[in-house]
Amino acid sequence: MLAPRFRTLLEMLETRARLQPETTAFHFEGRETTFSELWRGVCLSAERLRQQGIRRGDRVVIVLPNGPEFFVTFYGVLRAGGIAVPVFPGSGVERLVSLVGLCGVRWLVGASEQPEQVGQRLVLTGCRLLTAGDLASPGFDGPDSDEVVVGDSSVDQTNDAPFPPVLQPDDLAYIQYTSGSTGDPKGVELTHAMVLANLEQLIAGMGITRREVFVSWLPVHHDMGLVLKTMVPFYLAAKLILLPASLTHVRRWLEAIEHHRGTFTAAPDFAYRLCLRRIRDPKAIDLSSLRVALNAAEPVRAQTLVEFESAFGLQQVMVPGYGLAEATVGVSMATPGQPVKVDARGFVSVGRPFPEIELAILRGEERVGAGDVGEIVLRSPANTRGYYRNSKATEKLFWRQFLRTGDLGYLDAEGELFIVGREKNIIIHGGRNVAPREVEEIVDRLLTVRRVAAVGVDRGRVEGEQVFVFAEIRPKDAACEADLQALVIAMVGEIHRELGFRPGRVYLLKPRAVPLTHNGKVRHRELRARYLDGRLRGQGQILFPDY
């Protein structure tokens, strides 16, 4: 049994502020924030949230990019007794409004430059828009900064409830939205105890110590960036270099590792491939300080491991891992410093499960033995108890006491896990899970569209998996080039407005170009295969554009 050191995430942060007040909690954009500064900001923000009327159990949506404001807000919400709902900072208005409705949210904290239309739409739903500036920032020295003292406890004037409220390990800490269209919300419920259990599993399973130097550009609103790359260093008071979540400057990431002598970094496979493609002088960057370059959150390619290590002169540093938000984040990782196992079909071992995680492979309702492929299921104290306000999806999530991952894999004779595929057609677009239906529903509304399919396309050489949209249109609507252009512009614009991201590419196809099953369902995998091997283009099925 791993001994829990903290009862809640807040106790973890408060302990750091008490025991290591002057230790740097994180570096961000050339600025260091100590644990005592961070804690002061958290207390101040909790106080402001209380003044706004936030009470125990209230959900607060957080729409903030990487940076100090995120942490101050996230932990401030917890201290005020609330439940944080961190979401992608680029989320479109429609998505935010729909989330607010789903969670019954009355507060949303965004960046100061939040567009006015967001505020106007939210007011109509009864939700208040606060900005991170309204709350606090670490090191905040405004006129009100004296009102909060570390460990301060006061009485709530309005209902005499003690402030801050006493949190319990089984209280919900945050809800992590993973995917699902507006009709199928999947907000993973995570308690303090679950998250702390996973932190302990990660630390023990990955052999992480206080001496580790974390370097991360992963978005802090999402599991791997939030839990592994910020909570683990906070837990241990290890050094953390946090970068903005950006794909355009991968060189900054590698140079930060070199400059700070980083020992632990993590990214999905595509980010490492992007480095190989974009960095023309890999030998000029010294990454020899790295102990672990975790490759997780998307299918791991054996070729990426070999090519990245060879290009940057590393050995047995890139280790594949596996996890999912429903198990907080981490489930397994291969062992650093040892050769990574690759099977005959090119699938890569993601190692053995972390301590206190029991993993099984299920076919139908039966557990199968070593070597047999089936659905990966797991039992762990870090498993969620279900999806927020979605009992239908929650019922399907469990098999006995085991969590169904929806991923396909097998265990080898030594108990190492190999992932061979996903059961669903979920697209991992820039680290965010997108259900094809979310995108298809939007495009379907355009009258000229006959049939649409959204698939994840990863061309190996480009920026990882991206949402590609394939829309069949009626011949009479394809009168001229300008019509085709206008249609694509409308589709991209609508997707961006509702979902907050733009697809990697939109193609307009001839009628009957999208492959279907006998029952008329779109065959997403077959469509992707036909696009990638050039059949779609070769058979003249693509009307527009010509690249």
């Binding site: 400057h249 920026e463 991209v492 961006h496 991201f501 010509d546």
Partner: protein, 80 residues
Amino acid sequence: MTQDVTKDELTIAEIQTLVSLQLGIASVGEEDLLVSELGAESADVVNLIAAVEDKYDVVIAEDEIPEIRSVRDLFERARG
């Protein structure tokens, strides 16, 4: 998947159209800045560059990306 157009014939209007399609914005000016004026996010810039690479058969390296700020910069780079 490249066009038969030689790079000398490439016009800035073609790049404006390509940016329009990729960003879902009907009107794109020659001097518009991709991020601050057109609202492109980092992933959009990366996809935009991939589209230029596909259409004009060029390869744009990581260290060139920070230099590509406007529609005109993209045009200059596509022309080679």
